[in-house]
Structures are given as structure tokens and as C-alpha cells.
């Protein structure tokens, strides 16, 4: 279907007898906010890996906009606007936040290979990196090394790195994972503040985030899509409750 920002069509992947993706079909219209939920081990991160090219599907296609990207290596998909963040921080420990984001901007603008000009000559890239960090409330700490940042700030830096690649489609892998309550406000604001030009799919266990931001929820269980629907439909569905929301929902109802 043209008009979709990103779609996975008939994607299958197994490791020996372990099936991690079974005939997965996902379609993301441009500009939406969809959530991907499912129990642990359902294959959510694996699906992200398949979409971004870290894993090759056994069969099926990944289509970004009009282009079939199934055969492209990860950096080429990023170049075309498909960007992800990581569930467990994958940052540059000894680089400052500013340097990390500047690096991402430089790579995007293809100026990274220039070894004969000083970095400080690239004012545009540095200013853009700084602006991204300021927008995510990381301005005051942008000079600090990544490893010295608080955990919540590091999660924000994950998003900053992704934004530096000017994504058209952004895959957020559990952005709020392990972030303490006090630090999650900026995170929520950052996600809310994402431009409507960007199509967002986020994996989350935090139901507050899911119900607040997602217009549609996809439920993944055992490598295949169980169902897809609006938050209300998902919350009401008995199968979903049984598999995933079940216990928590019952506890909430009976206090």
C-alpha cells in the first residue's frame, strides 16, 4: 500500500526451531504514533532489529515509503530516514553529549570522512546538535561526558542521537525503561514534542505512556501479531487481557 511510511510484509524469522517472527504484517501510515506491546520474549526488539537491518528476515519484505529496503545494510536505512533507539543505552561513554550528537549530525551530512578540516569549522553541525540537546533539556549538561549523566538524561540522549539523524520513521525501544519517576517527565515531554512529520512506533511496557501517546496499539505475542486496534479496543479485548494485561487489570479493578 503506497502512502505508508513503513511497513513489514509477511516477515518471518527463525533461529533453528525458535520462531521469533511469524508472518508479521505491520503498516505505519505517515505521522502516526503507534505502540507495540507484548509480553517479554514476544519478539518486539527482534522485530525492530529486522526492520532496521540488524537481522535479515528469512522471508518477507520491509518497505520504507516507496522503497523496498529489505536488502539494505543498517547505515543505508538510517540514511533514508529509518532510525531507532535502544532499550539498553547504547551510547558513547567517554564522549560528551555534545560530541555524540555532533557526530551523528556529521555522519548524516556526510562530512565525517573529512580528516583535514577541524571540527570547529563545522558551525552548522555543532549548532544543530546543540539545538537538539537544548530542546531535550540537556543544554546545561551537554559538555559532560555521557557516562557522567544521570540515567534519565542518558535516555534522553538516546533520543537526541536518533533525532540527529533526521528520522522520517522513528522506532523507540522502551524509551522509559528503568527511568525513575522523577526523571520521566522530561522524557514524556520529549516524546510529546516530536514533530508530526515523524512517524513513531514505540515499544513500551509502561501503559501510562502507551495510552497517553498511542493512537493505535499492536499486540505481539510469540512472534506474531495477536491483534491491532485503538487503545479502547485493546483494553477491552479478552484475549489481550488474558495474555498480557490480565493480572494487572484485575488488580486495578479490585483495588
Amino acid at each position: 500500500m503506497s502512502g505508508s511510511a513503513l511497513s513489514a510484509r509477511g516477515v518471518n524469522k527463525s533461529f533453528g526451531s525458535l520462531v521469533v517472527a511469524a508472518d508479521v504484517n505491520i503498516d505505519l501510515p505517515p505521522g502516526v504514533r503507534y505502540a507495540l506491546i507484548g509480553p517479554n520474549g514476544a519478539g518486539k526488539t527482534t522485530l525492530i532489529n529486522l526492520m532496521t537491518g540488524m537481522l535479515r528476515p528469512d522471508s518477507g519484505r520491509i518497505v520504507l515509503g516507496d522503497e523496498d529496503i529489505t536488502a539494505l545494510p543498517p547505515e543505508e536505512r538510517v540514511r533514508r530516514g529509518l532510525v531507532r533507539t535502544y532499550q539498553i543505552n547504547s551510547l558513547f561513554p567517554h564522549l560528551s553529549a555534545l560530541e555524540s550528537v555532533t557526530l551523528a549530525v556529521c555522519e548524516r551530512r556526510r562530512v565525517a570522512p573529512t580528516w583535514w578540516r577541524p571540527l570547529t569549522a563545522y558551525r552548522y553541525e555543532i549548532e544543530e546538535a546543540h539545538a537538539i540537546l537544548v530542546r531535550l533539556a540537556l543544554g546545561p549538561v551537554c559538555h559532560r561526558r555521557t557516562r557522567e549523566l544521570a540515567y534519565g538524561q542518558q535516555r534522553l540522549l538516546e533520543i537526541a542521537l536518533a533525532l540527529a539523524s533526521k528520522p522520517k520513521v522513528l522506532l523507540l525501544d522502551e524509551p522509559a525503561a528503568s527511568v525513575p519517576r522523577e526523571e520521566s517527565r522530561e522524557l514524556f515531554e520529549a516524546i510529546a514534542g516530536l514533530s508530526r512529520d515523524i512517524t513513531v512506533l514505540f515499544i513500551e511496557h509502561d501503559m501510562e505512556l502507551v495510552f497517553r501517546f498511542a493512537s493505535r496499539i499492536i499486540v505481539l505475542v510469540g512472534g506474531s501479531v495477536l491483534m491491532e486496534g485503538t487503545p479502547a479496543e485493546i483494553a477491552a479485548d479478552a484475549r489481550v487481557r488474558a495474555v498480557y494485561l490480565g493480572e494487572a487489570h484485575r488488580v486495578a479493578v479490585h483495588g
Partner: protein
Amino acid sequence: MTSETLAAAASAAPAGPNEFLRAQARWRWSEIAFWLATLLPFVLTPDYLILASQVAITALFALSLDLILGFSGIVSLGHAAYFGVGAYTAGLISVWGWGEPLTGLLAAGLAAGIVGYITSFVIARFRHLALIMITLGFCLLLQEAANDANWLTGGFNGLQGIQTWKLLGIFDFDLYGYTAYAYALAGLFVIFLVARRIIHSPFGLALRGIRENSARMPAIGAPILSHIRTIYTIAAIIAGIAGAMLTQTTETASLESLGFQRSADVLVMLIVGGTGRLYGGLIGAAVYMVARDQFSGLNPQFWYFWIGLLLIAIVMFLPNGILGGLELLARRLKVWP
């Protein structure tokens, strides 16, 4: 000298982003003092200028290894292969009748660069133990091949008949060593400036990104294989130039210039000095070679006993080498140049 420590200092007094980055690339007084100090041997120890030239050459070689190991995280146990290619290229050109040093340097750099470029296609694809074995294997292969091809290399006895012409037509490479040291030091300084420029360029930032987290690099759109090939080729060229300088100043080229021993020695020097700091290789080379000269009366076995002990001590207590230790000290004493 390094972004880490500068970041610590700068975070106390926040500046604009561009100013912050520029502050890291600024020349510090300790660096200027260092380069002025390299001129001292002319005045203080004129009897040791030949040794000084050897130190400068080895320092250049260590610098080339730092670019791939310290800044990019590529562990190579066989970097001497490119040093040897450069050494033998310069030697062969001289034996075949052309002993002009500067063009010999260019030719050696080119030859080593070509070999480096070709091997970089393989090197870039591997990590961990496979990479260590491949770099080691290639070095050993080259050493064996050079030994077997004694019609070309002179085999065990080395190349005979090398004669280096006067530098710029004026300065003779004599036993006093003035020309040798000036030549080696100038080469070291010029190439150091190039290396420094690389480190503070966007490419240098990309290299550090590769070292810090190579898995994340493709996810920000980085062509990691291409980056690695580039720096590996540059490092090979520099190593080749260093090898050529050795041949030209000593008028010999032998198998030990491309063997495992030389690869291991330069690795030790870089570790002792401190990786990823540009000056680590220089300081490590100076310390190592001066010490070896002082203890040259000793049985080589005993030398390696102490080197072994030093390696263990460094890995266990001072993993960032001498420069790392100095940085810690400077931070403790709140003195920062």
C-alpha cells in the same frame, strides 16, 4: 590534552558549544614545552644524536599505531608489517641507484599505503580474537616471505649496499647524527601535526565513536567499514615513512623491521605511554628506548623480564599508561595545563 579531562574542566565553566570544542583543540603549554624539549639533545647530549634519531623514528611508528589502536580501537599485533614494507622499499630504491631521501620517503609511504589499503578490506571486517589472529598472521606471513625471498630482501643478512644521498643536497647523514636527528625530528613533527589535525576533525570524532561503541555507529548512519579502511591506510603510510627513515638513517634494512618482535615492542611502548593521547606513543618510545640503551649491557633475557613485569603492573594498576597517571595526578593536585 584529551577531551575527557578537558570536559571535566569545562563543565565547571560552561561556554558556548563551539568554544567548548575549540578549547579541546587548543595547544597547551605542556605540548609546546614538549616540542621545545625535543630540541635539547642538539645542545645537551650531542653524543647521543643517533639514539635520538632512533627514538624519533620509533615515536613516529608508535604514533601510527596509536591512530588505529588508541583512537579507533583496532587491536593490531602486526603493525610492523607496514613499517617493514616502508623500510625495504626505501632500501631497495637506494640499492637500485636512487638514494635521495625525501623521494624515498614518499615512495615508501606510497608502498606501505597500498599494502595497508589492500589489507584494510580484510581488517575492517573482523574484531576480537579473529582480528588479533589476522593481524598477527599477516605480519608473520610477511616476515617468513621476506626471509624466503632472500634474492630480493637479502634474507637473514638484510639488504646490502644502501647509500643515502645528502639531504637537500647539502646535509650528509654522518655518524655525528645531526642530520639524522634533524631529519627524523622534522618528519615526526610534521606528521604529528597531520595526526593532530585528524584527531580534531569530524573524522577523528567518528574514530572515537568507533572505539567507544562500534555497534552504535551504523545506527547513526556511519559507514564504519569505510572509516576503518581510511584510518588504517593512513596509519600504514605513516608506519611506512617511519620504516623508510630507519633504513635511510642507518643504511640497513633487515627482517627485524617487519617482525613480530617489532610489533610487540611498539605495542608495549604505546601502552606504557598511554593510548589515545597522541603523546603516549612518543613518550613511551622515548622511555623504552632510552631505558633499553642504558641497560644494553644486560642480557636481553633480563630486559624482557622487567618489561614483562612492567606490562603486568601497567595493566593492573595504570591501564592508561604514564600519561594517564600524570592526568590523574594533575587532577588530584588541581593543576591543569
